[in-house]
Amino acid sequence: MEVRLNKKTKSVLSAVCIALFLIFVYFGDIMISPGSSWKMLITVIEKGSIYALVAASMNLLNGFTGLFSLGQAGFMLIGAYTYAIFTIPADSHDKVYQYFDGGLIKWSIVEILEGKMGVLGHYLGMFIPMIGAGLLVAVIAFLIGIPVLRLKSDYLAIATLGFAEILRAFFQWNTLGPVTNGSNVLRKYTTYNNAVFPVLVSGICIAIIVLLINSTYGRAFRSIRDDEIAAEAMGINLFRHKQTSFIISSFFAGISGALLAMFQTTINATPFNTVMTYEILLIVVIGGIGSITGSIIGAFLFTAASEWWLRGLDAGRWLGISASFMRPGFRKVVFAVLIMLIVLFYSRGIMGDREFSWDGFLTWCRNLPANIKAWPEKHKAKSAARKEARAAKAAAKAKAKQAKADSEARKASGEALFTPLPVADHVVVFDKEGK
């Protein structure tokens, strides 16, 4: 049973769903009291959408262009700092940069524009440094890309990872203190006041990534992922296209960095380390390399699990079980084990390389009851097949063992190592007619 809707219905359906979701987030953030456990849902949506953006940007590189890059945390770091530095209110500078005489930059874009244009200026003042953060990261990606994108993909991974590590040290360098506040945190900068803001910004950015992937350039990226040599033979300039993908991916990583800075309200370079990049990569893997839908689902699952569902594992009590080994850090261990299980046994992730479509989704929903009913049968057949395979494997192993033992025995008894060809007892000769 397949469901097929016409284009218009789908657009209306999508628009309605998105609108409902945004309204839910907007009023949810306003109306749910901070103490309620439902507040957690809003937090997860906020953080999840930020991670969804950075995961989608990484997927553009790793899943769609085939470049194994591990620089995402570094790019987020630049984005976060750029945004924060330019939006700290003038009279907070002395407090924030207390060890650096109030810092070098003593103004805030938000305040300047707000003074001139009111509320509109306030939001413009947030957007300009955010876009600026993205652009700065893009310029840096352009520069790093020149040497690094000519490398084989393994080296690219190490070079980008290393670069991200250098950045961390660079931002904490005392000499840059008047700008970056050295190893102290940046705080008091302007942040959004409703969770709908990051959701909306991430949503727009992800939509742009999807549009790019479905354009002729996206096709060129995917051809590079599938076969570099063939892509080049089809007239695609490898370096230029890799560079384009790298720069765009970095731009969005920068934006997500700025959003993360707003979400956290204080930032410091320390947590933007390899672990963070690994987490983003693992989100991409959980969702499915080569699926933006997957990255979004992966990001929300990841944040929900780490911020909400598995919280109890750190606090000593989870699902009514309490144990002394559940102390801080245990959550992440369980988490890492889960991820390893996914990587090893479910390597296509949730979505594989498929994307969400209304037709696919509705078909899936309609067939779900039937599939659930058929599941025990299918499972039985599957486990039987697995059993058979295991038995066959064991038999083969036994046979090999036997053969080895035989040859060893022969060796011991001084026999020749090669098996003489079996000599036929008698040979039947057919004549040409085949009698």
């Binding site: 070079a159 290393g162 250098i166 000499t175 690994y278 990569l281 992440k332 890492a336 991820i339 390597s347």
Partner: protein, 294 residues
């Protein structure tokens, strides 16, 4: 004379840390040579060896602890290979790399859980900490021991690779994975041996390294690991002597940069070096050219 006096301590420290990087780098270069895999978890095996030592020394005598640390590293490394890499051997290369990253993430998080995120102090091993005078400089015994031990181990390893049957098998597998398996070489055994050697050396490296930099936390393996990998690339990935030369170059340069007062950029240097070598001579100092079949 004055110049040597000022720089000698940095050069000595560089040689020492270079030797420690070399011991880690061998694990990277051998595994990459055979599996074409950057074993992202190698740095964490190194870190865990250090961590285990911290715990073992509290209950066991030193000599036993050292032996157990090496055994632990070997068991950990080969287990990782069996569980996380072997099932993916026919999967796309990106999958194995992701698996390696997953293992690294697991090891780091587990270390975080065990240590509670606190930096542990590595036990002082008496005779390694003894001070010695070389010319005008005073230094710890470990600074002298490291390069000597490194060179001895590397010579032994090269002899093993050159003259034993398993060494020959390793060379064959790194040259052509599929053909060697068709020729009846037990690939799994070769890979296991590779991991055993790599991890044992990393464990020895960890003893020397953490005797020098006594603080150890779950992230301690990341940077030395990355640097050791760069050393392996610099020397020509797959080449053991290359990795050792690369490691010494990185160790010495890094310390000279520190000596010049640019500590912040001593780590950055490693990656600049990586990029430069890959631009100028992508095969590294002693690497052989890999021709892509079209």
């Amino acid at each position: 004379m004055g110049l040597i006096q000022t720089w000698l301590p940095y050069i000595l420290a560089g040689i020492a840390v270079g030797g420690q990087y070399a011991l880690i780098a061998i694990g990277y270069t051998m595994v990459y040579g055979i599996l074409r895999l950057i074993n992202f978890a190698h740095g964490d095996v190194f870190m865990w060896s250090g961590l285990i030592m911290v715990y073992l020394i509290t209950v066991l005598p030193l000599w036993l602890s050292i032996i157990l640390v090496i055994i632990f590293a070997v068991v950990l490394g080969t287990t990782i290979e069996k569980v996380a890499y072997r099932p993916l051997r026919s999967a796309p290369r990106m999958s194995i790399m992701i698996s390696a990253i997953g293992v690294s993430y697991l090891l780091q998080n587990f270390a975080l859980y065990i240590t509670g995120g606190l930096t542990k102090t590595y036990p002082a091993i008496g005779w390694l900490q003894k001070t010695v005078r070389i010319g005008s400089a005073t230094t710890k015994m470990v600074t002298i021991i490291t390069p000597v031990l490194t060179i001895v181990l590397v010579v032994l390893l090269v002899m093993l690779i050159k003259h034993t049957k398993i060494g020959m098998a390793m060379r064959a597998v790194s040259r052509d994975f599929e053909t060697s398996s068709l020729m009846g070489i037990d690939i799994n055994r070769v890979i296991t041996v590779t991991f055993v050697i790599g991890c044992a050396l990393a464990a020895i490296g960890s003893i020397l390294y953490f005797s020098n930099y006594t603080g150890i936390n779950p992230m301690s393996g990341a940077m030395p690991g990355l640097k050791a990998f760069v050393a392996a690339v610099f020397g020509g990935i797959g080449s053991v002597p290359g990795a050792v030369v690369g490691a010494f170059v990185i160790g010495i340069c890094e310390n000279l940069i520190k000596g010049a007062g640019w500590t912040t950029f001593s780590d950055a240097f490693t990656f600049v070096l990586l990029i430069v070598i890959l631009m100028v001579k992508p095969t590294g100092l002693f690497g052989e050219k890999d021709i892509d079949k079209v």
